[in-house]
Amino acid sequence: MAHLIKLELKKFGIARNIIFTFAAILFSILFITVSLWDSMTDPEQTKDTFESTYLVIGLLTSFIFLVYSSVLTARLIIEEYNQRTITILFSYPLNRMELIAGKLIIIMVYTAVSMTAGYLCCSGYIVFADRHFDMLEGTFRISMLRTWIPMAITTVAVCTVLSLWPFIIGMIRKSVPAAIITSLIVIVFRQVIISKNAADHESLLQLFLTAVITFGAALFIFKKKVPELY
């Protein structure tokens, strides 16, 4: 499996995707800056709190990297079917299920690592911005990390699992638009669910259930749709 992942990474283009991660994080920082600056300079608004800004960070990173995971799914998996290069891949002396699983592992790991980097950079930035420019309401306390860290871990874990849905839906008809639209629907659906939770992120039970349903659906697609060339 490790050998397969290494081979797939050649097509994945690590450098290109690291550049995208940096660009996405810079965009998030810019977005947060504009939002903080606006609430700071507008006399009719109150300054944003650390809690609300941290929620925005979670929303931004999950939105950007979930949508990007669907683009990766389309590029690494669905386009192999649409451009028929899958016939070449499947004629190699390799286990086909492991081959596709290897691609999914790359996408999931990339999503998890990028989101973690996004959280770290954006959280660090708001602490820095407040310390030097007093842009937020209140001051940063280490005790805040007791809420922030579990929230970030849960969000990253849930989004990593959810990054499988573009594959699940997109593979039904080997459709790139279906994969990308699925990621948007997943984001909205998740937002509806977590808005009802007091902690603004999924509980462990919700995370567990999401994982069970997602892996069950992915297994079904593996059995029924992965071997289907056309």
Partner: protein, 303 residues
Amino acid sequence: MDHIMETSGLRKSYKGNVVVNDVNIHVPKGSIYGFVGPNGAGKSTVMKMILNLIRPEAGEVRLFGEKVTGQSCEIFKRVGSIIENPYFYEKMTARQNLDLHCDYMGFPNKERIDEVLQMVDLQNAERKQVRHYSLGMKQRLAIARAILARPEFLILDEPVNALDPEGIREMRHLFQQLNQEEGTTIFISNHILSEVDLIADTIGIIQHGNLLAELPIEEIHKHQAEYISLQVDDAAHAAALLEQMGVTNFSVLDKEFIRIYDPDISGKILSKTLIENGVGLESLGRSQDTLEDYFFQLTENGK
């Protein structure tokens, strides 16, 4: 006989439409097996089943004596193939595509890439992205990829499609060289029957999913009769004259063409008789049945 690939009772249907029915193919080791049939006859479907790209509904494929199943992997290290069109990672160069192929096949000798690029005459275009290649160049590159890992068995689905006559000849020589010098067994489909006739030593003819015949090319050549071909302005009149001359073994192909399967008849007497009786003679010549004639005899009987 030692067969490198065999199928028995192979069957496949799509939405109730049977596309391959009870196909039994036997590819002798070291042979070049020409697999011919009209478009939609089931050639590509059979080839995909051999490569385990689609699963047969019934029957089995045996490669190197081993039954091909969903779990068969290692066996394909010994197989090179081109199926349907030449597919590549279009944004990669020819060399990158071949390099990737070596990695997937577990073939360590990457110096062989230069060798195969030379063999298909693409050594000067190897740094170009494949999307800038013409279809003919892609076809050559697909051949290079198929032979790269020195396969013992080559499955080639219409490999000379889109090649110019010079390219077709070069590839024919390449396949013959691989077969004779490296002992590669080749299973090749081609709709250009004259091309198959030139290269294959065993022929399988498929139509409507049924294998109509499988025999050595010498067998076909044995049955290929010599004939006199006549082109006249009135075939019915000419046929009546032939009967008067006592010639019975002939067939009228259409309003103009007649074939006489009696090569002992003098062309001089024939032309004289026809002209003297007012039949306009456009041409007269001696020919021999080709694989194409055999193919049409067989497929028209099969209709």
